[in-house]
Every structure is written in C-alpha cells, then in structure tokens.
C-alpha cells in the first residue's frame, strides 16, 4: 500500500528528478553483517530501527552521537539531571532519552522522528522538500518554503523549525541519511553500548521484535509500537509496560495520516469539472431570460 501510493504520487508529480538523484544513486544500502542482517537491503524495502526499551539504560550516548553527526551542540551526557523532567526533541536536539517511572520500575525511552511509512509531513509538503526516500528515511531539503505545514501534520510533532534564524531549516532525525548513503549505519545505533537499538530492514525488525516477545513472555507486552500505528513507522518499539505509561500516544489510530486529506483531494478534479459546467449552464439560461425580458420591454 505504502509503496503503491508513493509510486503513484511520484508518477503524478513527475518531478522527482532533481531531489531524487541522491536516492537513486545510492540504490542499495548495505547493512553490515555485525548487525544481524544477512544480505544487502533491496531498495524495495524500508529500513528502520528497533528500540528495545527493556535494554536501554539511559546513558544518552545516542544523544551525543546524534548531535555530533548532525553538527549540533553536543550535550553533556554525564549530567543526568536533565532526566528529571520529560524533554521533547528540539531544533538542536534531534533525539532525546526520557526516564519514566512505571509499575515495573524505571524505563528509558529514546524519542525522535518515527519515519512513518506514509508520513503526514511528506503529504503536507507542497514543494516536496520533505521526502520519503524509497529506502525508508524521511528527509528534508532546502527548497522548503518554511510554511511549517509539516508541523501540525505530524502525529508525533517531530519537525522542528529554527525560529531564531533568518535562514531557517526544518530539523528532525533523517535516520542519518548521509551516513546510509556512505554505507554506514545511523550514528545512534552505532553508539548504543547496550544494543538497545537495532538497524535493519523493517520486516526483519518486526520478526526480531516478535521473536524477543515470544521467547521471553514475561518481559515484554505483546505489542510492537509502530507496527500498525499511523499506518506503520520505521522506528519500532518494544516494552515491558503498556506504551501509554512511557510517553507514547496510543490514541493515534492505525490510519496513515495522508488518508485524512485524500477524500478532499479526490474531490478537487470533480469540482473543477462539474462546477464550471453547471455555472455555464445557469449562465446560458439566465442570459435567455434576460433577453426575453428586454424584448418584452421593447415592445
């Protein structure tokens, strides 16, 4: 569904040439063997990251690695006081780790762009600056107008805007698109000392998540966040406690966000065809009426 829709839109748009070069050239992203993936990923599959929240210890190495890779101010990860409060990602911090007190003790959760299969932000973008690469990552390009329509359209509110700049960008996790193109894995995955993060093709990640859930029934709840949420996301989470306890919105539904405005968009050509036809008809009728009236008046 996701792929069909995207290719449909790309045919319609006809203009991916400019921005698509990088994606087309990269073709196959090779996933290093050490991460458990057997073969190169075919470009027909989305890649993603599986986050096992039972493994995360809240060391925030991913935050530091992310900032370094994206040339943003690197946070002091020795300072754990930031964990006292729930944080959100910002234009200067594309990923943050939060601590939650739950029934089953402390749980740490990494937060960043979810890389939806059918992203609201991409459907919102009128200049295709936001782009869902066919390999899976959602990236941003500088032909952006800065209208910020992607921000209300994102179910996870991940696009962040540089308000303080006169040449502002939309900032969010790109799944380290530049590193992927070089055949490297995302910086956060590379930096994680606890193997809480796994990078790979999305389908394999779902299998891996299911395997963990079924092998250790007591340690996980039987739900993969992101498998079906908003039509499926590139980032997948497994947890030992229900997801609403660890800061996830569980009211988003399983319908992909672009579907919500699809009905309206489909009605556009119909209105543009039928409305003028109807108006021309009415115009012809009233014109005749008017002439009749005038003629009557002349006599």
């Amino acid at each position: 569904m996701g792929i069909n829709r995207r290719s449909f839109l790309k045919v319609l748009g006809g203009g991916i040439v400019g921005g698509g070069i990088a994606g087309a050239a990269s073709g196959n992203i090779v996933i290093p063997k050490k991460l458990g993936a057997e073969e190169p990923v075919s470009p027909k599959q989305f890649v993603g990251i599986l986050v096992d929240t039972t493994r995360c210890v809240g060391c925030r190495s991913c935050e530091a690695a992310c900032a370094e890779t994206n040339h943003l101010p690197v946070p002091d990860i020795a300072d754990s006081s930031v964990l006292e409060k729930g944080r959100k990602t910002t234009q200067k911090q594309l990923t943050v780790v939060n601590r939650y007190q739950t029934d089953k003790g402390e749980v740490f959760v990494k937060q960043q762009c979810m890389h939806c299969n059918q992203p609201g932000c991409v459907a919102a973008c009128l200049v295709k600056a936001m782009e869902k690469r066919k390999e899976g990552p959602v990236t941003w390009a500088s032909n952006c107008m800065g209208c910020r329509y992607c921000m209300p359209s994102c179910p996870f509110e991940m696009p962040k805007f540089e308000y303080e700049s006169s040449n502002p960008r939309i900032q969010k996790c790109t799944l380290c698109w530049e590193r992927l193109e070089k055949g490297e894995i995302p910086a956060c995955v590379d930096a994680c000392p606890e193997k809480a993060l796994t990078f790979g093709p999305r389908r394999q990640l779902i299998e891996e998540a299911n395997r963990r859930i079924y092998q250790k029934p007591g340690e996980y709840i039987t739900h993969i966040y992101g498998e079906h949420e908003v039509g499926g996301t590139g980032y997948l989470y497994i947890s030992k406690v229900p997801f609403e306890q660890i800061g996830f919105r569980t009211d988003l539904g399983t319908i992909a966000y672009p579907e919500y405005s699809k009905g309206f968009l489909y009605s556009v050509p119909i209105v543009l065809l039928l409305w003028p036809a109807f108006l021309i008809g009415v115009n012809t009728l009233t014109k005749r009426e008017e002439e009749k009236r005038r003629k009557g008046g002349e006599r």
Partner: protein, 431 residues
Amino acid sequence: MMKEIATAGEIKNIKDFWVFIRSELKPRGKIFTTFNVISLPIILLGAVLIVYRLAKGLGAVTNLSQEFPWGIWIGFDVMVGVAFAGGAYILTFVVYILRTDKYHPVVRATVLNGFLAYVFYAGAILLDLGRWWNIVNPILGNKFGVNSVLFLVSWHFLLYMISLFIEFSPVVAEWLGFKRIRKILASLTVGAVIFGIALSTLHQSGLGALFLMAKDKIHPLWYTEFIPVLFFTSSIFAGLSMVIFEGTISHKVFGNQLSHEDHVSFNNITLGLGKACAGAMFVYFFMKILILIHGKQWGLLATPMGYWYLTELMGLVLLPCFMFLRGVRYKNFMVIRIAAILSMLGIIINRLNFSVIAYKWYVPLSQRYIPSWMEIVITLAILFTEVWVFRWITNRMPVLRKSPDWAVEEETHEKMITIRKEAPQWKASAM
C-alpha cells in the same frame, strides 16, 4: 470636487499617461483625519518591524514555538481574511451568473475588496514563511507536492487573484479612459467569474482541509472530516456579512460619490444580503448540529472547551442568524448590522479555534501561544495599508460612483446587438 478627475479621456500618448498618473497619485481630501493619525504611525512601525523580521527571523518578532507553529498571521490574516473576501465570489455569482441587477451597485466594491484582501492578507503569508524567497517553488520548478492540500491552496490563491483582477479590470480601463481595452476586458468577465467561483469553492474549503491531518491536535468538538464543507459554508455568510459591514462604512465615508437612489438601493441590498446570511447560517448551524450528534461527543459539552464551543455556536452563529431574520422582517437595519458584526466575530473565533485556541487545547496556558505585540502591530499595519489602498482606488476609479457615460452607453449598445443577433435563434429553439 470630484468632477476634475474625469479628464482621463484625453490620454493620447505615453506622456499624457504619466501626467495623468502623477496627478492621480497626489493625495486628495484632508490629511489630518482621525483615521490617518491613528493608522499612519502603525503602518510605519509595522514596516520597520517587517524589516526586522526579515533580517532576524520569525523568532525575533513572533511568539511562535515548536508547539504552536501557526499563529495569528495564518489563523487571522490568511484564514479570516480569505473568508471575509468570500463576498466577491458570491456576489459575482449573483450579479453575473444569476443576473440579479439589484446587487450590481455593490459588486465592484466587493470585488475590489476581495482582490485587495487576497493581495494583502494572503500576501501576509510571505512574512510567515520562514524561507520566503522560495515562495515561487510551488509555481515554478520541478518539485511539485501535488498531494499537498497547501499546494492546491497556493495555486488557487494565485489563479483567483488573477481572475479577481480580470473582473475588476474594466474599472481600471474606465478610469484611464481606455475604451477599446475596456471592451475586451469586459468580455472576459463572465469567464473569470465562472473560473473564480470554482477556485473559491475549492480554496475556501481547502483552508479547512489543511487541518484534516491535525486530527490528534484539534479538540474533538471541532475536528470532523467535514471541516472543508464547514469552511466553505461559513465563507458564504462571512463574505456577505463583510459586504454589509464594509458597505455601511463606505456609504458613510464615500457618501459624496453617491446619489440618493444609491442610498435607497443599498438599503434594499442590505435586506437581501441579510436574508441570504440567515439562510447560509442556518444551513451551517444545522450541519454543525448533525456533526455534533454523529460525533457522539456530547459529554465534552460540559467541559470548559465545551462551553467555549457553545459560545461560538449559539452566541455567534445561531444568535446572529436569528437577528438577521428579525432585522429583515422588520426592516431594522441596525439589527442587521449588529448581526453582521456578530457573525464576523464568530468567523474570527472559529478560524482562530482551529489554528490557535482549540488547537492542542490540552497544553497548559503558560505554554500556549499568545501573539506578541509585534505580530499584532504588523497585522494592523497590513490591514490599514489595505484600507488606504482601497480608499485611494475608490476616490479615483468608478467603484462606488457611476461609470463614465461612454462606458454605460457601450454596455447598453452591446446588449441591444446581442438581442438582435440572438433573438431569431431563440425563437427557433423555442419551436
């Protein structure tokens, strides 16, 4: 005083043209009026702030945040400005398609008002765009986000501005005394009107459709899949209320350009518009109730947001609807005017609800978006500049006052010709 202007008929060459334009550019009338004294400093301050915003970025001037990416420049300037400009597509429909001559006296002012609203308020979007130099990207270039509602809206804004300009252009030709050009431009009117109505239907509803993907952020009492239909329906009475409001002011300010008959006919027009408003508002109210019932969200009515919802629906839709009906029935113009103001207020509240107030209603007040004084000053500056331009044009071109005699003659002459030409045809088809 106004007689001296009608010298445009003598433009023969470019030199005459420049002389005429230069004489027209000079200010007319009193300079130190209350309105000028208030508006001029605000316009100047606004201009300074606009430069500051372009140099320093949005954060320096606005209170926008990552939580609230759209403020009053979108929620008020664009959303409300465009809804108020809706009068143009409705009146052009009534006058040029339905050929109801009764509304002819207000159609030019309404089209001008609509055109300026699009230029200024939709133009205000330029300030809100973080990367405004890329504004041509949806129109030119090779990356079109055709699956975006905003793509549709931006194209429709552009095309609709052009059709509004075509609809208004005969007035400019009459002002300049370009007889032949006027004839050509006037022949384009009906086409531009039909195109303009189709565009308006889609972008009025399209502005609502922008919020369809904010499903999880807009309060369930406001969010519905029918937002586009509601936006379209409400633009009808928003536009017509604006015509009543603007017409009332214009007839006071520019009263010297009007004859006694004009004043009488405006009263008649007000009654007709009031009736239409009441009808559109009732349909809108009915749809809101249907959506409320089907949405099964009655429980939320007893919450603070529920009271706010009821204030909007009862106080600023149902009440003015009722007032319009009473006003029309008893020919009480004061009641109609108050009803128009109330329903305009209702539109302002409604559009702001979607973009600011009922948007992420769960965020506590301390972290909510409240416009900065600079955002308000810039908005006022844009509004006042629009009024200045409107006044400049109305004082010079035949917007409210009668067209020059040659233009009137031409129009009746044309109609006679079409009658003679098409009359036999009509007979034949009647048989």
